[in-house]
């Protein structure tokens, strides 16, 4: 199991590393002391688990996750209980409150082991994205996102039973999404191609798409041609 340790404090990283030495199957493949450094190492080292300190100077742990195209399994480490509660809502694997208790760490590692053994059955671990609005955070399976709508400077993201308003532009979010899975329908909409139930032609070569949820999305004229090609209509 490859682990990456992210914490701005060297002593905290050293302490966690010492605790992880007790677990023979865990290999610490790297350490990072800030968000930028961590993002690079996550992309390069493809760790099975990231131990992530939430409060860091500059880009903090949550901002780091927001920037990733694919969010790896995360165990949060935090000195503050309030962050811990938020992290729990995040559907992160687990969270550890500092000072880290060895038994709690073992329990967290068990969850990681379970997850890695599950994903080994799959050809490739499905991609995850990290979303947050003012209060809540989610780690979402990318293919579960059905629709993204631009609302001013915000974007409403529809997935499962949630549709939070994310303070990111549609363009920013588009750059994190898998282009094989998502399609830019117009200036204000991105749709999940797997969600398309039917396509209705409009005047002047335009298209309207009906999603599985019943929502209709107008496709811009320029994008209608692209969509026709992709769906080979």
């Amino acid at each position: 199991m490859k682990a990456l340790l992210v914490d701005d404090e060297r002593l905290a990283r050293a302490g966690l590393r010492r605790l992880l030495e007790e677990h023979a199957d865990v290999v610490v493949v790297g350490e990072a002391q800030n968000g930028e450094d961590a993002a690079q190492k996550i992309r390069r080292l493809q760790p099975d688990v990231v131990f992530l300190d939430i409060e860091m100077p500059g880009q903090d742990g949550l901002e780091l996750l927001e920037d990733l195209e694919d969010v790896p399994p995360v165990v949060f480490t935090t000195a503050y209980q309030e962050y811990a509660v938020r992290a729990f809502e995040v559907s992160a694997l687990d969270y550890l409150v500092k000072p880290i208790v060895p038994e709690r760490l073992s329990a967290a590692l068990d969850k990681v082991r379970k997850l890695t053994s599950e994903s080994q059955a799959m050809p490739r671990r499905p991609r995850h994205v990290f979303l947050r609005d003012g209060k809540h955070c989610w780690i979402v399976l990318m293919h579960e996102i059905r629709l993204l709508e631009s609302v001013g400077n915000y974007t409403r993201v529809h997935f499962a039973n949630n549709s939070p308003l994310i303070y990111k532009s549609l363009n920013t979010l588009e750059s994190r999404l898998d282009p094989n899975l998502f399609f830019r329908a117009s200036r204000s909409h991105i749709i999940n191609l797997q969600e398309i139930k039917s396509v209705e032609p409009e005047a002047e070569g335009g298209l309207t798409v009906v999603l599985a949820s019943g929502v209709k999305v107008m496709i811009s004229r320029r994008q209608s041609r692209t969509l026709r090609n992709r769906l080979s209509l």
């Binding site: 701005d8 404090e9 060297r10 002593l11 905290a12 050293a14 302490g15 010492r18 002391q33 800030n34 860091m56 100077p57 500059g58 000195a79 500092k98 000072p99």
Partner: protein, 363 residues
């Protein structure tokens, strides 16, 4: 100290003053009466009678007005509304004056072996009565005046004491305290250091102990020499350096003649903690904390500079600085200032100016 108004009124006028006034006043009156009687009778042979008579008159006066005193004090007349008090006093003075007059005339007649008809001459009675009325009015006026004066003095003293108590409570609430998060971080780091560098861990415990002792020792309304505060601050920064490591650089610039100046304890520490929290801790690359102290003609200037930038230059004060400001206000009135502003070279400056002249400490 709790003083309830009823107790306060009941204790007035205070015993010794009351009796001194009574003895002095009625002795003077007896002497006057003696001179008066002697002038009238003009008979050296009856001097003993005159003395006995005036002595009795004095004793009657003391006894009669003491009754008044008991009514005023123990029956609580002094706390009555002015109108009711005036009526009761008038009635009291009138009856007491009449009683005194009769007593005086009978005493005099008895001593002189005069027949009853001669004793009760209306003209005599009127003169004696008028004198006693005047005396009693003066007595009562003095009594009430002294009572009012003492009451006011007590009320003032009580208000002052209350103010001091409130200020002390405020100071206790505002005192510079070490942030619990700081202790928490220290303990977390200590846990790692014990394994990594036991010698350094031991030193850390010593520093933490010293700092804790300093923060507990200082009676917060008292001032400590700047040198003591600096020593505590050195411990504090050494402890924070364990967390920040190479991200924190510290520069000192303490003028020699400022070392012995007395300053509020934990004040400089608050400024430094603020600089670390809002400056250094937020910067991935860390930065510098510079601590300076210098004397001007009438003031001592303490300044903490930290790398960073103020987001809202006008307010930009968290609880720590707000408390520090209030504390300065309580200790020095408007003679001390705390200014937080963007300095040059990408630094934030927190500067405190304290007066050197004798402090208006709240006590």
């Amino acid at each position: 100290m709790e003083v309830n108004p009823i107790q306060l009124a009941a204790s007035l006028p205070r015993g010794s003053l009351y009796w001194r006034c009574q003895v002095f006043g009625w002795s003077a009156f007896s002497a006057f009466e003696f001179a008066f009687v002697m002038a009238f009778w003009g008979d050296q042979a009856r001097i003993v009678f005159a003395a006995a008579f005036t002595g009795l008159v004095g004793l009657e006066g003391v006894a009669g007005t003491h009754l008044f005193h008991l009514l005023l004090r123990d029956r609580g007349w002094v706390r009555l509304p002015p109108k009711i008090l005036a009526v009761r006093l008038a009635a009291g003075i009138f009856s007491l004056a009449a009683l005194f007059s009769l007593l005086a005339l009978f005493t005099r007649g008895f001593l002189a072996h005069a027949p009853l008809r001669q004793i009760l001459k209306p003209m005599d009675f009127f003169v004696v009565f008028a004198i006693r009325m005047v005396i009693l009015v003066i007595w009562t006026a003095l009594y009430v005046a002294i009572h009012e004066l003492q009451l006011r003095r007590h009320t003032e003293r009580r208000a002052l004491r209350l103010e001091v108590v409130v200020q002390e409570a405020q100071l206790r609430g505002l005192r510079g305290q070490l942030n619990p998060h700081f202790f928490f971080n220290c303990l977390n780091n200590l846990r790692e250091l014990i394994a990594e560098d036991p010698r350094r861990a031991q030193k850390m415990v010593t520093q933490l102990g010293g700092l804790l002792r300093y923060s507990l020792r200082a009676d917060q309304s008292e001032l400590v020499p700047l040198a003591d505060e600096i020593r505590a601050l050195e411990d504090y920064l050494a402890l924070e350096s364990i967390r920040f490591e190479e991200r924190l650089q510290v520069h000192w610039d303490i003028a020699k003649d400022a070392q012995s100046i007395r300053v509020p304890p934990m004040l400089l520490q608050t400024l430094v903690e603020n600089g670390l929290k809002h400056g250094i801790a937020r910067r991935p690359q860390g930065g510098e904390i510079a601590i300076a102290a210098r004397l001007t003609e009438a003031n001592v200037e303490l300044e903490v500079l930290n790398s960073g930038e103020l987001r809202e230059p006008a307010s930009g004060a968290g609880i720590g600085l707000r408390n520090a400001r209030e504390r300065l206000g309580l200790l020095y009135g408007d003679r001390a200032t705390l200014v937080l502003q963007n300095g040059n070279q990408g630094r934030v400056s927190a500067r405190v100016t304290l007066p050197l002249a004798p402090f208006e400490v709240a006590r």
